[in-house]
């Protein structure tokens, strides 16, 4: 795909609400919001047909900053909530927003099953390798040697590899982006939303307040050496040597999305009691 096509007169500004974000100036999430609105504009979807579902954390504040429908739910359960919504309202575009704490820690179990279920959702995780909203505890993607009050001297634990988990659990589209390249990210989001089934996009989004060291990320990210594959085995090989900063689409699968037929059937209610009749 070369250039994002614009249909109609949709502008990114149409997808922004007038609520001013509380994110710290310098936060990567401002760029992510930009990527969202640019992607929505490129897809020319009416804002009322988009729902942004989130959990708890800095990243999860994003729904209110868009002019779409939103649900700012409880910590870690956004995928479950989104599943219920999408399955009953398949015509809506449902985007789920989370962070590395909300999504990979408390939300970990739901992540596995969302990939497995392959409902047509787009899951965007703003990964900053820290719990920001609660002031700097390690998250599952925090480096083992990173010192915090809750883990003096570092956790010593191997970080979570979300792309590996997504691939192993059956996600149908897997990508990594960097917040500092919002147009690139917007293009990936457009593809992710268009791709049927469960699309997982991890966006590296630096935390200026608790991880000022992440200002280095813009020098560490690099385009992935090869383009996306539709072969899970190939994708698995690539991801095992991934340095965590490969930017691009890793995998585009062809699993059929899960969508039970809803709203069909003749709804003949009197029929239902036949079984009980003596």
């Amino acid at each position: 795909m070369s250039i994002v096509e614009m249909r109609g007169a949709c502008k990114p500004g149409d997808y922004k609400s007038d609520i001013k974000p509380i994110w710290c100036p310098g936060c990567g999430d401002y760029h992510v919001l930009m990527s969202f609105t640019r992607a929505f504009a490129a897809l020319a979807l009416p804002p009322e047909n988009i729902v942004v579902v989130s959990g708890i954390g800095c990243s999860s504040r994003i729904p209110a900053y868009t002019s779409c429908y939103g649900f700012h739910g409880v910590h870690g359960r956004s995928l479950a909530l989104a599943a219920g919504l999408k399955v009953t309202r398949p015509e809506l575009t449902v985007v789920v927003a989370s962070g590395d704490g909300d999504g990979y820690s408390i939300g970990g179990n739901h992540f596995l099953h969302a990939c497995r279920r392959n409902i047509d959702l787009t899951y965007v995780v703003m990964d900053n390798h820290i719990y920001g909203m609660t002031k700097g505890q390690p998250s599952p993607t925090t480096e083992p040697e990173f010192d915090t009050a809750l883990s003096p001297g570092g956790t010593g634990l191997r970080p979570f590899h979300p792309l590996v988990i997504a691939l192993a659990s059956g996600a149908n589209f897997i990508a990594r982006c960097f917040s500092g390249e919002p147009n690139q990210t917007a293009a990936v989001l457009v593809e992710a939303i268009r791709h049927p089934g469960f699309s997982f996009v991890e966006i590296l989004s630096p935390c200026v307040t608790f991880r000022p060291d992440e200002s280095e990320w813009k020098n560490l990210v690099h385009p992935a050496p090869v383009g996306a594959t539709n072969d899970p085995a190939k994708a698995a090989r690539r991801i095992m040597t991934d340095d965590g900063f490969n930017i691009g689409i890793l995998y585009r699968g062809d699993r059929k999305p899960y969508q039970p037929p809803v709203g069909q059937g003749c709804g003949d209610l009197p029929e239902l009691e036949r079984d009980f009749e003596l």
């Binding site: 001013k20 100036p25 500092g180 593809e191 813009k218 691009g248």
Partner: protein
């Protein structure tokens, strides 16, 4: 791999006007966003600086629109003025923002932005085959060079902040 085209392809005067328009329009939006951030984070001095920068860019933007009479720059830009790698050149860098930043910092951001815009027009001028396009691109180069000079003069008004500019004695607040 999905790659959005790196920079807009300028093949006509309309293209050049549209690209120039979009550059200024993006700069306006960016300075407005930064001004809002500074207002929310109780830095009114910086909010004012960014609003001033936004107003200056708005003048440039409107000027280009006027110059491009006959061309619907807005619609044209929506079609072709796309920056894939990185961002619109004159959009100030968001990652360099900080709630305690000083006017000196803001102007450094502006300076870098103007330089990027200058580089863009220079490359258009250098690669243009059509003399009309080259001429217009050269004019934009001169224009941006003036902006660069202007920002330099503004920077002179502000002392470079001490190393302690970003130290906040109060700790961050856990909101949830």
């Amino acid at each position: 791999m999905t790659v959005v085209a790196g920079t807009p392809k300028v093949a006509s005067l309309a293209d050049l006007f549209a690209a120039a328009y979009q550059i200024e329009a993006d700069a306006v939006e960016r300075y407005d966003l930064l001004a809002d951030q500074m207002t929310t984070h109780n830095n009114p001095e910086l909010a004012a600086v960014f609003r001033d920068l936004s107003r200056a860019e708005a003048i440039h933007r409107d000027e280009i629109r006027r110059l491009a009479e006959g061309v619907d720059v807005v619609a044209h830009a929506q079609r072709m003025a796309k920056w894939g790698k990185g961002e619109s050149p004159e959009a100030a860098s968001l990652e360099e923002a900080h709630y305690l930043m000083t006017p000196w910092h803001a102007l450094q951001l502006a300076l870098a932005a103007e330089h990027r815009a200058l580089a863009f027009f220079r490359s258009v001028a250098a690669s243009a085959k059509d003399p009309a396009i080259k001429k217009l691109a050269d004019e934009f180069v001169e224009e941006e060079a003036e902006h660069v000079n202007l920002v330099h003069r503004l920077i002179r008004k502000y002392p470079k902040p001490a190393d302690s500019w970003r130290s906040d004695p109060d700790p961050p607040v856990a909101q949830e």
